[in-house]
Symmetry: C2
Subunit: 395 residues, 2 copies
Amino acid sequence: MLVETYRKMLSGKSVIRELSEFATARGKEIGYENVFDYSLGNPSVPVPQAYTDEMISLLKEMDPNELHGYSPSLTLPEVRKAVAESLNCRFGMDYGPEHIFMTSGAAGAIAHAVRLISQAGDEVLTFAPFFPEYHPYINLSGAVLKVVPPDYKAFQIDFDSFEEMINEKTAAVLINSPNNPSGVVYSKETLTKLAEVLKDKSEKYGHIIYLISDEPYREIVFDGVDAPFVSKFYDNTIMCYSFSKSLSIPGDRIGYVAVNPKCADAETLIQMCGQISRGIGHNCPSAIIQRAVAKCLDITADLSIYEKNMNLIYDTLVGLDIETVRPGGTFYIFPKAPEEDAKEFSKKALTYDLILVPGDSFGAPGYFRMAYCVQTEKVKRSLPVLERFIKDNYR
Amino acid sequence: MLVETYRKMLSGKSVIRELSEFATARGKEIGYENVFDYSLGNPSVPVPQAYTDEMISLLKEMDPNELHGYSPSLTLPEVRKAVAESLNCRFGMDYGPEHIFMTSGAAGAIAHAVRLISQAGDEVLTFAPFFPEYHPYINLSGAVLKVVPPDYKAFQIDFDSFEEMINEKTAAVLINSPNNPSGVVYSKETLTKLAEVLKDKSEKYGHIIYLISDEPYREIVFDGVDAPFVSKFYDNTIMCYSFSKSLSIPGDRIGYVAVNPKCADAETLIQMCGQISRGIGHNCPSAIIQRAVAKCLDITADLSIYEKNMNLIYDTLVGLDIETVRPGGTFYIFPKAPEEDAKEFSKKALTYDLILVPGDSFGAPGYFRMAYCVQTEKVKRSLPVLERFIKDNYR
């Protein structure tokens, strides 16, 4: 008998994927350069040469049995040490290798984090707008994802709704700053208040409510924006990181879990990651890729294009009187649609070959997401089309 | 609250790992070349040069955004196609890309396979002697692993015990041929009879009982041994493969699930793998490694050393009147210990710097495993020590 949980998921097609498939099909008709595809969050800048060089040098110079041998169950010790040292140096933290566990990207990290501290019957809270893949990450671990409605003004946190929803079943709160889809960076004030609520509620309910901090966009922060290091605000923080965006290597599947050294049972949590890994058949990310990123911890791909694109798009939207919160980072922007039904809006945009994703699946109906990880030249060509689309239909 | 399932696993230390740690520590004392470490199943021959060359050429020549971009959720189509074609050509099968899903090794493949067709309350049967990691692979998926006692004569299948244990809760039977730890290859007769029982019992209980075939040692088969292709015997077979042993790349984490084209709902099963993958945060093995193995499907590392080692060890054991089933493949041998308690036997062997793993955790107390993936020169030096150990203590 096929397991219905997974079979049923097959019929629920992702809107993002549908739009992206439309873009590909349309591209074949009219040339992909004429389709203004803002659907997918796929990094568009090349990997740094240093990463490629490091991979080649490992392949050419390291003993092959060592290079291609099994990682120990807690992943490579020298890589964990390098990650800890880089974090300490950059953010003034106190991680040791015993607080780090390498994973297959942030997805793998979140899969481990939720299994560490939640099980069937537990709830994990997240804040809209949020990355819809959190649904399978959380729900297939046994716990249930609950979504706190957005703070529409600034896409920070609506604390009234949050405090209404947090309860004795809350095992963890999952945040994502800089945020997909809003591009917003949580402020010091937001994080301070969040930590206070988590401390109070942990005490009230007699168990730790963990903070799972999903940080794949940590290195994409725009000029003048202060991006506080989340783990500094709350001891019981489990950070989930990915190199997909910082090094433009999403297909390589590499990231890590970093448990705050001050977190209760911090080392035990990391050791448990090794056991979870056995159960999900993960058994460490590729050893060669662990080694290569360990040499590229303090560099990034050239991420400046994202800020350039953001400024172009933001200014155009503001000029069109489209209500938009200015992103502090990422390669997303999340404006309010000029009609109530963002799905209708998105459908109309398609007739202009503009691929915009309605905000419904991000927990914010009436908004839409643009993923501007595309060539700046193409962004420039798309803006007059965007203007025409808005003026034709809404002005 | 930490999840007890995983926390409890921390105290249950693996005997193999303990022995391997002893070997490492002892090696520091007396020189690792003087420790005869038969504990770990770590390939000891280098990766084929073609694999290294392919990796380097991908890194040098492919567009980096394509090379390091996300795999589609069902893994890379050109890789799935290449795997299907290679299997068809080598084994006269009829796989299409729609029957293949790339995973992080056989561990990842089994993690997907069990989640496809079993859930809490279901049982998965396997035959002793068996690979003890099946416990976490199965038990953490929700189902329960049940172990059928060994056929001590030949390490084929004890069908009487099997038929007693199969019942309405049996969702799948998990086999591993060539087998870790016995080295035995299941015969045509065994596989034919197994298929008959599975067909009968599927009918009797009104649901398909799947055969999960774990085949990481498929390419390590010794001269004169007939190794039948398991999927040919039973339509509802889900094959789990790993390149770890055939290409000597266990740390690269690459393998696949291949669902028999004649299996009920074959394509749906593969599509469901993509959903399971989301839930466990796997999201495809590294794209570059998928691409590199796709170019090395019909080659292997030089595996001949394993047969050389087997012959040396087997002949010595037979000469010492140690009861031993001759391996047909793998790099394991599983003789009967000359005293009832194989743990005691293993402990005594340590005083000779011989690292032999007691068979208890493989479901066969009184036996011991030797993993002879070591240099032949070292095997040769170890044999007089083995003889001395046996003669001093048991003759």
